[in-house]
């Protein structure tokens, strides 16, 4: 869906995205990885259509398509979870419930369906005890869960997530991984995250960006066995161990510890 796509922000000298090409087959989930400032969020914005809309003076070349046409911002079709969950809050509602309702009212969804969706999300994210609390009074992790709930409540065709595991604890991350794996059966998911173990558990394809350039596009196992420099990535320890030991005269014990590492993972 992207062919030689490049984008340069207005008043800058270098492209933020440089010659990105990949095709994501229907039903495949994409993880975008790379160090900070490598263009991950820009790419997510481009796929959402936000980039082109907010920076009409930006320099674009190549083609980008979502569902076969140029992406436009379409809130009824896209759920977008921003990296900063506080930024996601509307600021106009007084309770967690009405915050979820607000995100749906934008889409002109009938009231009775909104009610059902609120209940569905509150139970899914276990927010019952917070339902009547002010969105701004939530803790860091609770705010993240609310931001996720507001977007999944839309039942979007596309769910784009920018570092959704941030401010969650292990249990929250495990919950999110399971949720995304269930959602991907009906939703196109594209996510940016530093946690490669989550990307590997959710995404069928991974795109590795560095300085706006595409270093790699393929499956997670292909990435982990490829020869490209992944020094700046958070490669999971057990995969790293495996790579370090490949090609060495492994002792029995090494192999044993390796097996254990894998089991634990």
């Amino acid at each position: 869906m992207l062919e030689h796509f490049s984008f340069q922000y207005p008043f800058t000298h270098n492209p933020a995205l440089n010659d990105i090409s990949f095709r994501l087959l229907p039903g495949k989930t994409l993880g975008i990885i790379g160090p900070s400032a490598s263009g991950k969020t820009s790419l997510l914005y481009a796929i959402a259509g936000i980039l082109q809309k907010h920076f009409p003076a930006g320099i674009t070349s190549g083609t980008i398509a979502r569902d076969g046409t140029q992406p436009v911002v379409n809130p009824s079709e896209i759920g977008f979870v921003f990296q900063d969950p506080y930024m996601q809050l509307s600021g106009v509602t007084e309770t967690v419930e009405t915050e979820i309702a607000f995100s749906l009212e934008q889409l002109a969804i009938p009231q009775h369906i909104i009610r059902a969706r609120i209940d569905e999300q509150i139970s899914q994210f276990q927010l019952g005890h917070l339902a009547l609390r002010h969105p701004r009074s939530l803790s860091g992790g609770e705010t993240r869960l609310l931001a996720l709930a507001c977007e999944t409540a839309k039942h979007p065709r596309w769910l784009l997530l920018d570092q959704p595991t941030e401010s969650l604890h292990s249990e929250g991350i495990r919950f999110l991984t399971t949720l995304l794996n269930a959602l991907k059966l009906t939703t196109n998911i594209i996510m940016v995250d530093h946690r490669l173990e989550v990307i590997a558990a959710v995404c069928g394809r991974v795109l590795f960006l560095h300085h706006g350039e595409q270093q790699f596009f393929g499956t997670p196992p292909e990435l982990f066995t490829s020869a490209i420099d992944t020094n700046e990535l958070d490669i999971p320890l057990w995969i790293d161990a495996q790579r370090q030991l490949t090609g060495r005269a492994e002792t029995l014990l090494y192999r044993k510890s390796l097996r254990m590492l894998q089991q634990w993972h």
Binding site: P35, S36, G140, G141, Q163, A241, L253
Partner: protein, 274 residues
Amino acid sequence: MALIQFTNVSFSYLRNVPVLHHISFSIEKTERVMLVGTIGAGKSTMLKLAVGLLSPDNGTVIVDGINPSRNPLHEIARRIGVALQNPSDQIFSITVREEIIYGLHNLGVQETSHTLHRIADLFHLTDVLDKHPYDLHPAQRRLLALASTIAMNTPFCIFDEPTSGVSKPERKLISAALDQQTTAGKGYLLITHDLAFGMEQCDRILVLNKGIIAVDEAVPDFLRRPDAQGILKANGMQMPIVPRMSATLAQENIAVLLPDFLSQLPGKHNENTL
């Protein structure tokens, strides 16, 4: 005398929903302590109590001999530097340069250029000093918040989720900055969901569970406890892989190989996590 002393502290935002329940602990000036607990456990609340942004319903909080809620904020600010969970809550200046020295100016320090350059260098912010903080990438904004906290040169700091949203290169910078604090004889309290990072950077662990301090122990002692994994699990946390691995290997009598094995891996795995 302890730097931070909580005695029998209780706190709730809403009546009938207690967040902290008769909590007592103390932290010395040079200690490196991690505070963990599930989402909404009350960790950030403890931070706010420690620096006087909230005052306890019951019990007392004493910082370096004074009561934070009865003293002006700047009295605490010269004793404890704070990096908030959400960097946007603490960044107000219009350039990175001003943000880093903002706190120092507030404390009346005139000569700031040496500190500015040392700290900017430490956090790799030298090239962006004239940028607006909102033109930084989120991970850099996190570094900026930490930089301006450390620039205050307080004897002690509290960091709320310092590694949230950052990737490996920034994590290394943060780790180096914390180590530098230690070398300078300064302590810190690290609030974190990132147990591997916490266990590498801290000597003592506090687990906050259902409003009470369920664990207050030296990290190596905690790791040796047979129920350590269970305690973490009950709090929604997973034991980092290195201690989990080493525990099993020790049972199998092949612990000697572990340091050798780990030395093959990039990253930092020190005595504590072993």
